[in-house]
């Protein structure tokens, strides 16, 4: 465990500017929180598989390829490029790794022999299953988590509340408190 996110000595010095509105009209108070929660949730969400991938010398790019090839066997290169939104050259670099090390196989298309259909090998499926497992675990835990007892639940609508619950529950439990404290600090500063 590293340092805590929350401060103690730095008691919110006032910024030398305007006194921002208390959840102004177009500001979308809930949305501001969601932006941040999305950041933290996604960070932890990809952090889990990252640790596994590192043991294989792979990165996130490899993960994405593995995931989509595993889930949509027979995917073509063009389709994969379109899903990932990266260039052919970027894809090829990681795809080559996966093929060379026997996690993915190519198969010449039947109807169009120019195409290379992609499939996971058994070891590719096994690795992907490992990666999926840790992500599913986190998601299931987030879905099963009890709803937050939100003190200040004004008239925002429950959609925002449940999105917030979900994302907050996606965050690594050990850090949730720190993040809650951080986000509470905002209310202190801008009020």
């Amino acid at each position: 465990m590293s340092r805590a996110i929350t401060p103690d000595a730095n008691t919110a010095v006032q910024a030398p500017g305007e006194a921002s509105l208390p959840n102004g009209p177009a500001t979308g108070g809930d949305s501001d929180d969601l932006i941040e929660l999305l950041f933290f949730a996604y960070r932890d969400f990809v952090g889990d598989p990252d640790r596994i991938l590192a043991q294989y010398g792979f990165g996130r790019a490899h993960h994405r390829v593995l995931h989509f090839v595993d889930r949509y066997p027979g995917l073509t290169i063009a389709e994969l490029l379109d899903i990932l939104r990266i260039t052919k050259q970027s894809l090829n670099r990681v795809l080559k790794d996966l093929i060379d090390q026997g996690y993915v196989e190519q198969q010449t298309g039947t109807s169009d022999r120019r195409q290379r259909l992609l499939f996971c090998t058994p070891s590719g499926r096994a690795l992907t299953a490992d990666l999926t497992r840790v992500q599913v675990r986190r998601i299931v835990r987030a879905l099963d988590a009890p709803a937050e007892e939100d003190e200040t639940e004004g008239g925002r609508g429950t959609r925002a509340a449940s999105a917030q619950d979900f994302l907050l529950a996606m965050i690594e439990p050990a850090e949730r408190a720190a993040i809650r404290r951080l986000m509470a600090r905002r209310a202190t500063v801008r009020a």
Copy 2:
């Protein structure tokens, strides 16, 4: 608009392996979809600000710094490092850009003069507001979107359904159909 995500000629060649379970016990059927939706949603979510940032010669790293400094004025370097989970060297590179170009200011700590408290300048706040605006717009749209009329809503629980609704609605509308089609393809292949 580029190519469509969905295929037509490649009619799901059967992968030469096991016949995967139809939403097996520990597999977490909903979660598999959520993994993918999280990928697409996050991709589009950060895509909006990316376009704005590019006009300033900034990247995502700059965005993250701006966001947190704007939201938590007076943040110290150590706190920011802990939030972003990057190294001091990585942070310094982008922070220097932001300071040199007048978007962020440093202020020596009052109680501890070793600290450098970070604040957005007016232009920093303006830029951040721009970035926040497009992200809030997407989130608000997602929260306001009507719930999906899910055909196959078994006994999964509504938590998963609303998380799915939210993430799907976060995806760029023009691409939602393609992604739905892609994900439908999975059911075809593994069934």
